[in-house]
Symmetry: C2
Subunit: 351 residues, 2 copies
DNA sequence: TTGTAGGCGTTATCAT
DNA sequence: ATGATAACGCCTACAA
């Protein structure tokens, strides 16, 4: 008579890895005791403890973190969602976030949107399913109604699985006061750049780079305010938009320098853009800073080593990442709307 | 008569999030049916399907990815373990790995060792518990017996939970033929650098930078081979070790240039080191390339924009990350020992 | 100090 | 086409 098919042959196939029960069987104790030994809960007799340890060792037992996570035990991961990593600033930001996550026993997830909204949404959905503890979103899109609504959607959907959303590099969002924001004072930085140039006597100060992303909006606003401070007005012919890439910035800068009445100074969206300006200046044998002053943004590691050294706005990106992570993981009660200071680092490109 | 305490009041507190049963209850069907609708398995009547969808929507139901993962369903994450992110090369590598992971529906985990062995071990242990699908390890330590044993240990422990280990930036490991390795031809790159310099008539060619990491070993070996190719021999006074940081490289380069019989060319471990050499040359008013030729490694984005443009060894780091990820996720049957080509990019720093 | 017995949320099998 | 149910690996309230 064939043995009747084991009654409980349903559900998923069992894995081949050793589990708690296997360890218990080998040690001759109950699974509960093994659990107690491994988690360090309650009192277990030393002798028993040793037996269990030995059995676990022998079987090469590894606790299944997924099962633990499902029980609410185990730490949920922190996720950083960012356009890309093509910039030293993002790397530092990521480093800061990773440090906080790892140091507190969380896994660190990373995902790139490449500026694609659909991708961003897909990522958030996945993170929701995976029950991330928190999401740090470096949102780079244009800050319009639509974007605000999208963010509101993220906030809701993440909240529904008890995950925190932190907006990084984004200014305080009046329409969404409950979203934590961590930013650096990009407005103040760009403003300081213009004031710095104004003090050197420049009156035709251009702005080159992105103008329609969240960061760009702030930097452009700072530029405008700085002009006002310096007693100047915006000349729209001196505001040129280009992507945040050296090659494109180079082309745009050529146009700017070829104008009949070219600027004597350029405030760049980023150091990457500033490098494009350097290239254009070299093409036309325009002397920096003699005929053209240049200010970058981000104070990349290489800024000091360009010729001439690039004046740039330094911002604490590592800190920004770290503080975002702390907020996302609810490790802090600090203000949920952080604005870190930026600082102008004057070098030779502004004389 | 007080209702008897619910029998099954044990275990963890129930969560407040809607689960499959809630959806089933609201839709008036069984949990199994809900599962079928959501996973798209088997046939479900359109009417029922609609009811379920509606109920799920209304409750804001989000599948619990952890529970799915526990059943062997759902995709396990890919992890990149790397010393840090302080270098454009690592960022590219990470981008490549992330792209492959995300594109194939895997989460992308990242963790930094900061060159600390204990941390590396802790990270691997965690990844094991979390049942990562694969681990791409950028191992930066010295390649000695001890390191090989550590890696063997990782391989075993990861294999025990069915996870793949891929060594990235590491040459083929004869003692561990079963570990997949993805590398760029660092030896050939450094060798080409020396040959390039030799062809320009240089005979006193120094090496500056790390010499005891995995990458350094290869680059130094390439340097040695290149000298031989050029009919030269190693002068140990021209081999100076320093960390992979511009500040330290600057100091080390000063020593090198102050020698009574200084080198006429320096092969640097990295572009970061090369920048240190530039600084030292400026300090001493040594002309590059007139009095000193310099070659970097990695071909960082800024290399072309230094003055003079820095000759450097270009390596396909994005590709390296992507291929590592593919191997780690077992998406490919390609050779498990990949060696990608490098290329010398000649600029003004070598005349 | 240790064992017993659910139950976390999901999916697969069997039965209807 | 749908429902009932066991099972994944773990943890903990309760009983002994």
């Amino acid at each position: 008579m064939p043995e009747p098919r084991k009654r409980g042959a349903r559900g998923p196939a069992p894995t081949n890895e050793a589990n708690l029960r296997d360890v218990a069987a080998l040690a001759g104790v109950s699974p509960a005791t093994v659990s107690r030994v491994l988690t360090g809960t309650a009192g277990v007799r030393d002798e028993t403890r040793a037996k269990v340890r030995e059995a676990a060792e022998e079987l090469g037992y590894v606790a299944n973190g997924l099962a633990q996570a499902m029980l609410g035990r185990g730490r949920r991961p922190l996720a950083l969602v960012t356009p890309a990593l093509h910039d030293a600033a993002f790397s530092e930001l990521a480093s800061g976030a990773e440090e906080v996550a790892t140091h507190n026993g969380h896994l660190f997830l990373m995902a790139f949107t490449h500026g694609d909204v659909a991708r961003e949404e897909a990522i958030i959905a996945t993170l929701r399913e995976q029950r991330a503890a928190g999401v740090v979103l470096v949102h780079a899109g244009a800050p319009d109604k639509e974007a605000d609504q999208r963010i509101a959607g993220y906030l809701h959907s993440l909240a529904s699985v008890n995950a925190t959303l932190v907006l990084c590099g984004h200014p305080y969002l009046p329409s969404l006061p409950s979203v934590a924001t961590v930013n650096v004072d990009q407005i103040g930085g760009a403003r300081a750049a213009v004031i710095h140039l104004g003090a050197k006597g420049h009156r035709r100060i251009a702005f080159l780079g992105l103008t329609h992303s969240s960061a760009a909006n702030q930097r452009f606003l700072g530029y405008s305010l700085g002009l006002r401070d310096a007693g100047l007005t915006i000349d729209s012919s001196l505001v040129v938009e280009c992507p945040d890439e050296t090659v494109e910035a180079h082309l745009a800068a050529l146009l700017l320098l070829r104008k009949p009445d070219p600027p004597t100074a350029i405030v760049c969206f980023s150091d990457i853009v500033a490098v494009g300006v350097y290239r254009a200046a070299r093409d036309f044998h325009v002397d920096i800073p003699g005929q053209l002053a240049v200010v970058g943004f981000d104070d990349s590691p290489f800024a000091a080593d360009l010729t001439p050294g690039l004046t740039s706005i330094h911002a604490p990106f590592y800190d920004m990442g770290a503080r975002s992570a702390r907020l996302a993981l609810r490790l802090t009660d600090d203000d949920t709307h952080v604005d870190l200071p930026t600082e102008l680092v004057a070098r030779d490109s502004t004389g």
